[in-house]
């Protein structure tokens, strides 16, 4: 997704303005001229300046005939869009459920779903998912002692 610079510029200006407004809630310390709000405000000022220049540049490009938002060619192929959405979606699902369900089932499902979607043969997909999940679990949880969530498998691990 390629947005016109004017769009990026506008978004940046709005975000920076909101942020600067928010810094007014930061406290001042008596006898201290330079508080926690100073640095973010300077940065916000620079972002607004950059956003303004981008806006100006984008408007010029728009006059020259550039589109407001241009989608990459792959977005017209549903399968590719699916790959993109699936990858992000699986991450969200993992974040939501890993703590209760546990790493092993969730990682297995994540890998398997992607393998199947990408067109790996089912047997290879299942086998690789099992091996990858267990090896990663062994490496991080057993060897490096990362407390990966055990979830449903807690009684047997």
């Amino acid at each position: 997704m390629r947005a016109n610079d004017a769009v990026s510029g506008l978004v940046l200006i709005l975000l920076a303005a909101a942020m600067i407004a928010f810094t007014s809630t930061f406290p001042d310390f008596p006898g201290q001229h330079y508080g926690p709000a100073l640095f973010p405000r300077i940065l916000g000022g620079v972002v607004i300046a950059c956003g303004g220049l981008l806006l100006w540049r984008g408007v010029a490009a728009r006059r020259a005939g550039a589109a407001l938002v241009e989608m990459a060619p792959w977005t017209r192929e549903p399968w590719r869009v699916g790959s993109f959405v699936l990858m992000l979606g699986l991450l969200v699902v993992y974040i939501l459920f890993a703590e209760t369900v546990g790493f092993i089932p969730m990682a297995f499902v994540t890998a398997l779903a992607l393998f199947m979607w990408f067109g790996v043969r089912p047997l290879t997909a299942v086998g690789t998912s099992v091996v990858a999940t267990l090896v990663i679990y062994w490496f991080f949880a057993t060897l490096l002692r990362v407390p990966l969530p055990r979830g449903w498998l807690d009684p047997i691990l």
Binding site: D5, F26, Q32, G44, V46, A64, I95, V146
Partner: protein
């Protein structure tokens, strides 16, 4: 001298040597796989090194990146796809050589000159770093403020084709860094009541997101596009390399010194070193017309330069705590996590640790010769690993790696958020490296700025009163003035960047 002996003792233990060998193999693989970069190798290896002592941790990063930068040359020659961006400058040239039947010579030259280029990088690092550290010991907040600002300035103006987007990206990194407890007053900024945001946005999950997840997202939509390996047999790669060295020894020296210098510039790393030295090689070549037809000359320059740049990038990283490229940006993050704040004091307090880094660098370059040979010999098998198998596994690694940094899903949330932002930024022509530098240098910049402001009571003059601070300050302002002036001057009509950047 004692420190040097201690350093030897630290490096030559079975554990460290084992870690180095394993990360060497890992680096070779990641570098040789198109779409997986040296920075990504670092981002993926850091969660593992988190659980190690400083010496093996740094050893793993040094070795993996050195191998990855070389290994990127292999698919360039075989597939016409650079394995890492650092090989992109001479991919076409390499492939043209392979098609002319010079595949063996090409791979041999790439390997040998990567090794000796890397050695030049280490040598200059060993010579310069302690001297600079001695000078840096007297630096006050003014010097550090200008140094950080100069570093960020270089990163924006020299390392990106679109300075405006570079600055924006840098500001984004600096602003992310503002989240959490502020360094001077201790007030929690932009945390919105979240306990996890109090300590700021976790750096390593952010890196994994911006460098690995965004790459996976790009890979996922082109998963079926795997290059076809050239059906040439790989023979004796070392025959003829000595002849090339005798003919082009000057190119090698020029390429590697240029590489170190560019590597040492903050923000510019191995990839830019390769591009510039390749261009320099062509510009000063006696036979520029041969470039593009499978000519070895430019490759000698560029392949030496990108490996030399790795060592160069460590100079400002170790001496000032200012990263020379995105890899050392991660390293600095790791050093802070290990409680070893990079800067001149490390040279005084922990010299054995600095020497250990030097020794590992030398070791990694020596190791590159046999391992590189093995990688070249097994290149066809490596390149046959399907991406549709690899990508989901890397995604699991990213998830676990990000989780391991915070021991909570918070790490994965940071990774996901910044991964999507990083992907959007790249799509829209905003370079990622300045954002990462901003994220790493933000605290130093803010702290030195605030301390200096308080010391100077808001006046500008004290920022320039100390000699070194004055020089650095004037230099920084000059670069800004030149760039702004150039920007105004070039604004006559609609520029190329305007159309492509739209």
């Amino acid at each position: 001298m004692d420190a040097f002996v201690t350093a030897f003792g630290l490096v030559f233990t079975p554990q460290v040597l084992w870690v180095i060998s394993a990360s060497a193999a890992f680096g070779m693989f990641v570098g040789a796989m198109p779409g997986l970069t040296a920075t990504m190798a670092t981002a993926l290896i850091v969660p593992v090194t988190f659980f190690m002592d400083p010496v093996p941790a740094l050893g793993a990063i040094v070795t993996a990146t050195a191998m990855a930068i070389f290994a990127g040359d292999i698919p360039a020659a075989l597939l016409r796809i650079p394995g890492t961006p650092a090989s992109a400058a001479y991919t076409d040239e390499s492939y043209a050589m392979s098609k002319k039947g010079l595949l063996d010579l090409n791979l041999g030259v790439n390997l040998v000159f990567s090794v000796i280029g890397g050695m030049v990088g280490v040598a200059i690092l060993i010579l310069c770093a302690p001297i600079l550290a001695e000078a840096a010991i007297n630096f006050s907040s003014f010097e550090y403020f200008w140094l950080a600002l100069l570093g960020l300035t270089c990163a924006v103006f020299m390392a990106t084709d679109d300075p405006l987007k570079g600055i924006t990206s840098l500001m984004f990194g600096l602003l992310i860094n503002c989240i959490g407890i502020d360094p001077t007053a201790g007030y929690p900024r932009f945390t919105f009541g979240s306990v996890e945001l109090l300590q700021g946005v976790s750096f390593i999950p952010a890196m994994i997101g911006m460098f690995a997840l965004s790459e996976l997202l790009r890979g996922a939509v082109s998963i079926d596009q795997q290059g076809a390996v050239l059906a040439q047999k790989i023979g004796n790669i070392f025959s003829g390399v000595w002849g090339v060295f005798k003919q082009y020894w000057f190119n090698f020296l020029r390429g590697s010194t240029l590489g170190v210098a560019i590597g040492a510039l903050p923000g510019a790393g191995a990839d830019i070193a390769a591009w510039i030295s390749f261009a320099v090689s062509k510009r000063f070549s006696k036979t520029p017309e041969k470039f593009g037809t499978g000519h070895i000359e430019g490759i000698v320059d560029a392949t030496s330069a990108n490996n030399a740049a790795l060592g160069g990038a460590w100079i400002p990283a170790l001496v000032f705590g200012i990263p020379g490229d995105s890899i050392t940006a991660i390293v600095i993050g790791v050093l802070y996590m290990k409680g070893m704040n990079p800067g001149p004091t490390v040279f005084l307090q922990n010299p054995q640790f600095i020497y250990a880094v030097f020794i590992i660098f030398v070791l990694a370059n020596i190791l590159m010769l046999p391992l590189g040979w093995t990688a070249i010999k097994s290149a066809k098998q490596i390149l046959r690993v399907p991406r549709k198998i690899l990508l989901p596994i890397i995604l699991l690694f990213c998830m676990v790696g990000a989780y391991a940094m915070t021991n909570s899903p918070y790490g994965i949330i940071v990774m996901l958020t910044l991964g999507v932002i990083g992907w959007l930024m790249e799509e829209n022509g905003f370079p990622i490296a300045p954002a990462i530098l901003g994220l790493v240098l933000g605290e130093m910049l803010e702290q030195s700025f605030m301390t200096s402001m308080i010391k100077a009571e808001g006046h500008a003059l004290p920022f320039f009163e100390r000699p070194i601070a004055g020089v650095l300050g004037v230099l920084t302002l000059l670069i800004w003035a030149t760039m702004i002036w150039r920007g105004i001057k070039g604004r006559g009509g609609l520029q190329e960047a305007d159309i492509t950047g739209a």
